[in-house]
Symmetry: C2
């Protein structure tokens, strides 16, 4: 098994990403191919002792930055991202992981790796924490002006993912909406509802209001990328704010500082629920290969867990299982 | 000044709503008109000592329930909600407040009270808490399939509101989007951006990612009602979850219970920020009168603060000021 890594993407490239690869290489079965500026990668690798058969370098001089437009994948052919996506396309690696420019990665993966037969659009699919564990948010970044058919396909893809990779039997699918009643919603959700209801292949439980998302009643949360992105980012911003307020209140005076000591473990438990970095990244699902987007601010732990996540996808034959659901679809 | 109250709408009608009216009547200048089933209202009022010149009853036998469709405003002419909206329309009261069915209230206010000349659509506009105070979320419940022109009008309306009622000079307007760059977004936000940019009447600061909302950089957050509703409800659900986890961690053992005592005030400070009930409700802005929606689970405090809020709107000539911005609009 071979997994390619975009060593140049994200806020902490290449330092933290390589540190994560070193960490993962200790337990991962796959050979890791670090793509990027060879000298920079070598400099980092020199800092570590590691099994040289497990980590290779593939030179790529170009870098797609966060400021680049998504169309950079057409112009920067020698970038680490485009080189990595081509490896997936050519079957030379089993997966590709990048912390780089999301728009470029989605556009590149869709055009270079290509969609699976029958899938209308691929979706970017992070797991988000809930009371019961994690729910899959699909789509959180690929299709901002979605059609009902796209959302229907996301429901199918998300169901396969949660069953194949998280072991959830008959995963519950909810449609994110502004009311629970059938007739509620905008044009998109109203037209999507019957498609989900009529598909015997998925376990559709109806509309889910945003208020209910943290309850974790739905394993798969279907929405367009605008709504998904707003939820994902609002959760991040709001969570950060809450923790900053907690910190402020805990450091007010001696009494609250004592309380902070007594609650150290408790606060840690809550933080762990939100700042989870053991669930890997967000795969772009619906394409003919495994491409995983990790957060731009990912450090070693996120990178390492994405590598193990990618291995899981390969072992669980995720792409084949998604493909099966669409190959005979009318 | 006269303010009409829907005594029959919401989860705690009429008990808590009337309690709120009694509370408000002590300081409010306005005469309150409680609309609903006379006997039920009388029974509640008997529990209190109050200035009888400040609280009147207007009998209305019908009730629009939470299960009714928005079209109930057409069929239930004798409902407390429809009676109240007609009082606003006829200029017999200065404002109407309801904790009842949102869809019906928006539809009823739009059709019965009517839109202001030049306003394409009215919007439901709650204040949401931020690090710096409050931002206005416009639209959070009226127009799920919005057009760029609607959002442009929301930006104007929201700016007037924040200046006239919250005293914010030259309020900053942000467009909720999935990226900060100009070219980011879905069709709606891409087409809305230039309209906001070209309007010298508003202080447009560009796109705001959902992650940045809690920072409070924008005083007015413009979005369609689907997105606004998702943000509002997700904040509610996510906030509830965080506080339930905090409670759980504080009650784990004797040490954490001690910490809870030491942090009682601190947790209270944070809770107060989220469970604010002193900011009134969400007015439906863009219509020819003051109609305020309060949360279905509102109790006395929310009702009382909405009454004071309504008085502020009247005193600040909010409707007239909004109207001025549109009357000469092409």
């Amino acid at each position: 098994m071979k997994i390619a890594i975009d060593a140049m993407g994200g806020d902490y490239a290449p330092v933290e990403l390589i540190k994560g690869c070193i960490k993962a290489a200790k337990t991962a079965e796959a050979e890791l191919v670090l793509i990027g500026q060879e000298e920079a990668i070598k400099t980092e690798l020199k800092k570590y002792e590691y099994d040289r058969s497990k980590i290779k370098i593939l030179n790529a001089n170009g870098v797609i930055t966060m400021d680049d437009s998504f169309s950079a994948v057409r112009t920067k052919k020698d970038s680490s991202m485009v080189v990595g996506l081509n490896l997936v396309k050519d079957g030379k690696v089993d997966a590709f992981i990048s912390a780089g420019n999301s728009g470029a990665l989605v556009a590149g993966a869709t055009t270079i790796v290509g969609r699976l037969k029958g899938v209308s659009r691929p979706a970017l699919t992070p797991l988000i924490p809930t009371k019961k564990g994690y729910s899959l948010l699909i789509d959180a970044g690929a299709n901002v002006d979605a059609k009902p058919e796209f959302l229907h396909h996301f429901a199918k893809i998300g169901s396969v993912y949660m069953q194949a990779c998280l072991g959830i039997q008959n995963p519950k699918v909810g449609l994110i909406n502004i009311g629970t009643e059938v007739e509620k919603g905008n044009k998109l959700t109203k037209e999507t509802y019957p498609l989900l209801q009529e598909d015997s292949d998925i376990n559709f439980i109806g509309n889910i209001e945003a208020r209910e998302i943290p309850e974790g009643e739905a394993d798969v949360l279907v929405c367009d990328a605008f709504v998904g992105n707003v939820i994902l980012k609002f959760m991040e911003g709001f969570g950060n704010w809450v923790f900053s307020m907690v910190k402020f209140e805990f450091t007010r005076n001696i009494a609250t500082k004592v309380a902070a000591l007594l609650m150290k473990k408790g606060v840690g438990n809550i933080k762990k629920k939100f700042y989870y970095n053991d669930q890997g990244g967000a795969p772009l699902l619906g394409i003919k290969g495994i491409v995983i987007k990790i957060h731009g601010n990912s450090k070693d732990t996120e990178m390492a867990s994405a590598i193990l996540q990618a291995e899981g996808f390969v072992r669980n034959k995720l792409i084949e299982k998604i493909s099966e659901k669409f190959v005979n679809l009318k």
